[in-house]
């Protein structure tokens, strides 16, 4: 039987290779991603449809997006995990590059992924980059 940590790793790896079938199978029915109000994609995204909408919004706003998992922290069968992500890309107009980190709080329930709270290093910096890219773009 897989541990919660293995399930979460499988979920994130599947998400990064755009394997929605695996993502959906590992997702709790009450799954939700929260995004801070300061971000261009603020709000709550529910279920697989919400996950797909968020992903398409993020790659629609930023150019050349790359996300790399740097660290998982949490005991094998914990319900809460922290995942550190390196996030890079370019502004909407492609004129400015960015490299930042997101420290994400992931929650598990009944062996499924139920909730994500991505804490960006600097939401204001991302918002300002977005607004500059909109004005120029």
């Amino acid at each position: 039987m897989e541990s919660n940590k293995q399930i979460l790793q499988k979920f994130i790896e599947a998400a990064q290779r755009l394997d929605d079938e695996t993502v959906g199978a590992l997702m709790h029915p009450a799954f939700v991603v929260h995004e801070a109000a300061g971000l261009p994609y603020a709000g709550e995204y529910h279920g697989l449809a919400g996950w797909q909408k968020l992903f398409s919004t993020v790659i629609g706003i930023w150019r050349d997006v790359a996300i790399k998992t740097e660290m998982y922290i949490g005991a094998d069968d914990a319900e809460d995990f922290a995942v550190l992500m390196a996030f890079s890309g370019k502004s909407p107009d492609g004129q400015e590059g960015f490299q930042t980190r997101i420290l994400e709080h992931w929650r598990m329930k009944d062996g499924k992924v139920i909730e994500v709270w991505p804490h960006y290093w600097d939401t204001h910096a991302m918002r300002a980059l977005y607004e500059r890219g909109q004005k120029k773009g």
Binding site: G38, A78, A82, L103, H119, Y120, D122, H124, A125, A128
Partner: protein
């Protein structure tokens, strides 16, 4: 003490106002990193940096109350993630806020060598503190 207990003890000492006790837990090469968009953005090095960081936060916010929910330690025992609920009030605008943050702490030789707080929304803190319209 476990890595988590070290961080919890540090919080406890700061909360009690035992700054000498807290400072004894800080590594000489300590670094406190704050996102540049924050009113107190920048890197604060050493014990002197720790003092400046406290003073900088205290010049912007009052009634600043972090409440630790729980902590996670990595496999090496040198990194601790602390999940914190935070309330406070801007000195400049008087506006109160409630938010959360994830703090990445690093330990060296059993002492605190790094804290890097990932606030839920630095834009919110700028707005509350009067840096944004």
């Amino acid at each position: 003490m476990s890595p988590q207990e070290i961080i919890f003890r540090f919080y406890e000492l700061v909360g009690q106002g035992d700054m000498a006790g807290a400072e004894a837990m800080i590594h000489p090469e300590f670094a406190g990193e704050e996102a540049v968009s924050l009113p107190y953005g920048g890197t604060y090095k050493g014990l002197e940096g720790w003092h400046r960081l406290l003073a900088s936060v205290g010049s912007v916010f009052t009634e600043f109350v972090p409440t630790v929910k729980y902590a996670l330690t990595d496999d090496t025992g040198t990194r601790v993630i602390v999940m914190v609920d935070l309330t406070g009030r801007s000195i400049k605008t008087g506006e109160r806020f409630e938010t959360s943050l994830l703090e990445l702490w690093e330990l060296r030789d059993g002492l605190i060598s790094l804290v890097r707080p990932y606030y839920w929304d630095t834009h919110l803190l700028r707005r509350v503190s009067g840096m944004e319209n």
